[in-house]
Symmetry: C2
C-alpha cells in the first residue's frame, strides 16, 4: 500500500480506552470492575430528552440548517447569557459534540505548522484534534501539589512563541477537576490580550462546580474579540450519546468562519438536536440534585484516597475527575495490573493512567485520572480495593 499520512500515524491512541480489553478479560474471569476510567455519568438523562426521541414522527428525516436548529441555537445562547456572555443565537453553531466544536475552534485560529498552548495534564483529545489539523500542541506543566491551578505568567509566557495562536483550557478541567479562580481567568485574559492570541475555553463541565460558580471565558473583557467557547450537552444532561455540542464566539468573523465550516459537513443530526432542545427545559432542581450527589462522591473519593498510605491528592473544585498521585513505579503498569493480576473480594478498579494526558508522559507516571461517575457505595468498595492493591502491588515505591 501507499504510505499513510504522518498525521494518521501520529494520531494518539486513547489513554482512556487502552485498557478496555484487559477489563473485558477481568470480567470474563468473573471479577467485578469498578469503571472509574471514563467520564460516562450514571445520572439519568432528563426524561424530556428521551421523550423527544420517542416523539419524532416525520415522513422524511431531512437535512436541517447547517448551523443547527434555530430554537436550539437560541437556547444555547440563552444559557451562555446566563453565564455572563454577551452572545446571541447567531454566535452559536451547533456541532457534533464538543469534539467537533474543539476541531472547528482550532481550525479557525491556527494553520498547519502553528502552535496552540495548554496546560498539562490536558484533555487527551486536544492532541488528537491538533494532529488532525496539522497543529502542534504545546503544554505548560501544572502542579499536582497546587491542585493543577494555573501556572504563573512567567512560566506560561516562556512557552509562547511566534507561531502560538491560542491558549486552550478546559474549565472545570478534564482530567483535573480544577476550576480556575476569577483571578486566574483574568490573568489568562490579560495574557491572551498581551500576546495577541485567542482563548479557546472548553466549558462543558460548567454545571459541575462545588464551590463558587465557574467564571466563563465569555464573561471576560476580551470575550468579544478573543474568546471561543466549546460546549456540549453530553455531561450537562448526561447525554453523551446524543453528540450535540456547540462552538460559540461573540465575534462575527469567527461566527462566519464556523458557518462556512458547518456548511461543508451539511448539518448536525436533526433528532438529536430536538432532544437537546428538550433538555434545555430541564428544571434547575435536576442540576441541584446532580451536583449535590457529585459533591458527596468527590468527598468520598478524595477523603478515601487521602486515607490510603502514600496516596496524595487535592480536592478538585469541579467536573467529576481527580488525578491523584500513587506510590507506584508506573501508573500505566499499575492500572493494567489492577485488571490482570488483582482482585479484592472479587472486585477491582479501572482507571485511566495519566501519562496519556501529558505531552511529557513521564510527568504523569505516578498519576491516574479517576472519574467519580459511580455512587458512593461503589466508590467505597473501589477505595477498599485500591488500598488492598497498593499493599501488595509489586511496583510499590
Amino acid at each position: 500500500m501507499a504510505q499513510l499520512s504522518k498525521r494518521a500515524a501520529q494520531m494518539p491512541a486513547s489513554p482512556i480506552r487502552r485498557l478496555v480489553p484487559f477489563a473485558d478479560a477481568a470480567r470474563g474471569r468473573g471479577v467485578h470492575v469498578h469503571q472509574l476510567n471514563i467520564g460516562q455519568p450514571d445520572v439519568p438523562t432528563p426524561r424530556g430528552m428521551i421523550e423527544a426521541y420517542q416523539a419524532y414522527d416525520e415522513e422524511v428525516l431531512a437535512y436541517g440548517p447547517s448551523q443547527g436548529l434555530p430554537e436550539l441555537r437560541e437556547a444555547v445562547a440563552d444559557y451562555w447569557r446566563g453565564a455572563g456572555g454577551e452572545v446571541v443565537a447567531e454566535n452559536v453553531s451547533i456541532t457534533f459534540g464538543g469534539s467537533e466544536a474543539a476541531l472547528f475552534a482550532l481550525a479557525a485560529v491556527a494553520d498547519p505548522g502553528d502552535e496552540v498552548l495548554t496546560t498539562e495534564p490536558f484533555y487527551a483529545n486536544y492532541l488528537g484534534f491538533a494532529t488532525m489539523g496539522g497543529l502542534t500542541l504545546r503544554a505548560v506543566p501544572a502542579s499536582a501539589a497546587e491542585g493543577f491551578h494555573l501556572p504563573s505568567d512567567d512560566v506560561i509566557e516562556a512557552s509562547i512563541g511566534p507561531r502560538t495562536k491560542a491558549v486552550v483550557i478546559s474549565n472545570p478541567g478534564n482530567p483535573t477537576g480544577t476550576v480556575y479562580t476569577p483571578d486566574e481567568m483574568s490573568r489568562l485574559g490579560a495574557l491572551v490580550e498581551k500576546h495577541g492570541l485567542y482563548l479557546i475555553s472548553d466549558e462543558v463541565y460548567r454545571e459541575f462546580a462545588y464551590g463558587a460558580p465557574v467564571t466563563s471565558a465569555l464573561s471576560l473583557p476580551i470575550a468579544a474579540e478573543r474568546v471561543i467557547v466549546v460546549d456540549s450537552v453530553s455531561k450537562r444532561f448526561s447525554a453523551c450519546g446524543a453528540r450535540v455540542g456547540a462552538v460559540i464566539s461573540p465575534h462575527p468573523d469567527l461566527s462566519a468562519a464556523f458557518m462556512r465550516m458547518s456548511f461543508a459537513r451539511l448539518c448536525p443530526a436533526t433528532v438529536d438536536q430536538r432532544a437537546a432542545l428538550a433538555a434545555y427545559s430541564t428544571p434547575p432542581e435536576y442540576f441541584a440534585e446532580v451536583v449535590a450527589e457529585y459533591e458527596k462522591r468527590r468527598d468520598t473519593l478524595v477523603d478515601g484516597l487521602r486515607a490510603i498510605p502514600g496516596v496524595e491528592t487535592y480536592r478538585p473544585e469541579g467536573a467529576f475527575y481527580t488525578v491523584p498521585t500513587f506510590p507506584v513505579d508506573d501508573c500505566d503498569r499499575f492500572a493494567q495490573w489492577l485488571l490482570t493480576d488483582f482482585a479484592h473480594e472479587g472486585e477491582t478498579v479501572m482507571m485511566a493512567p495519566a501519562s496519556g494526558f501529558y505531552s511529557r508522559p513521564e510527568l504523569g507516571r505516578q498519576q491516574a485520572r479517576m472519574a467519580y461517575v459511580l455512587g458512593v457505595p461503589a466508590l467505597e468498595r473501589s477505595l477498599s480495593a485500591l488500598r488492598a492493591a497498593l499493599a501488595v502491588y509489586p511496583g510499590r515505591v
Copy 2:
C-alpha cells in the same frame, strides 16, 4: 481581534445554499419556488427507521463504541460485500455522515501541503474538507459533451505531481449523475496503482443507478491496498438528517488509522445509529420503487431540458443530479435572477449554479446543477418555468 487562520478565511461558502435568502424573499412575495438546488430527496424514510427513534427508551443516553455499534458496522460490511468488496466489520468505521468519512479519508492519506486529485465539476464540499485538512484539491476538467465521463489517462496523469496522494471520485457522481463504466473504474485502478496513490471513492449514491449496477471501487483488484470508500445512509434511505455515514477500507493500517481518529471524537450518535441499523432491514422493493421513480424523473427532466431551445444536456446514469448547459451569460446571475426577477404562473425554479463545483469557476459559467428530487408534475412545471425564463432572460446568449 487576532487574525483568523488562512484556512478559516479560505473555507468556501456553499454554492448550494448561497441563494437561500433570495428564495426566501421570492416565497415572501408569494412565488412558489421549485427547489431543485439541493439533494434533499422527497422519498419517505423507511418507516422502520422512524420507529427506531420512537422505540428509544434507556435511562442514560451513554457513549457508544468509537467506531460505531458493532451490529451497524456488521450491516454496513454486509452491504459492501454485496457490492463485491472483501470487507468485514473491522474495516468499517461509522462516522457523522459521509462528510466525516471524507474528512477522515483525506486526513489518513495526505498531510498539510499535499495534493489530492479529482475531476471537475466535483462535490463542492471536497474543497471544504481539503481546506480543513490543509490540502490542495486539484481538479482535471471533465467534459459536459461526454456526460462528464472520466478524462483520458494522459490528461489525468498530467495533473499528478510528487505531492499527489490520492484520487477522489464520487460515483455515481455529485453534481454530475455520471456513473463510471467498469472500464473507467479499471483505468482508475491502474492509474492509482501506477502512481502509488490511494483511491477515495464516494459511493453514497450507489443505489441510484438507472442502467448497469455501479462498479464499486471495493471490487477493484487494488481494493485491499489502496481503496477507501465513503458511505452514508443519507441518500440510500432518504435519511439526510440522521448524519450516519461510514468510512471503509479493507487495509488494516487504514482501519487502525480510522479507529484512532474515531477515538478522538469519542463516538457517533447512539440513537441515529440504531435508526440506521433498522434501515438496513429495508426490503429490496423499497429501492426498486425509489429507483423506478427517480428514473422517470430523470427522463422527464432530461427530455424536457433538451426540448428547450439552446439547452444542452446528457442523460446521467445515476444519482439524482444533472448539470445542463444553458444559453446564458452566467448561471450565477441566471439562477439568482430566476428568484429575484422572474415568475411564470406564480412559480419559479431554484438551482445550484455549477461554478461552485469547479476549481476554475469559469468552466461552469453556463452550467447549473439540478437535483430531480421532486415528482414528475413539479418537474414539468419547473421545465415550463425554465422555458419561459430563457425566452425573456436579459443575459440570454
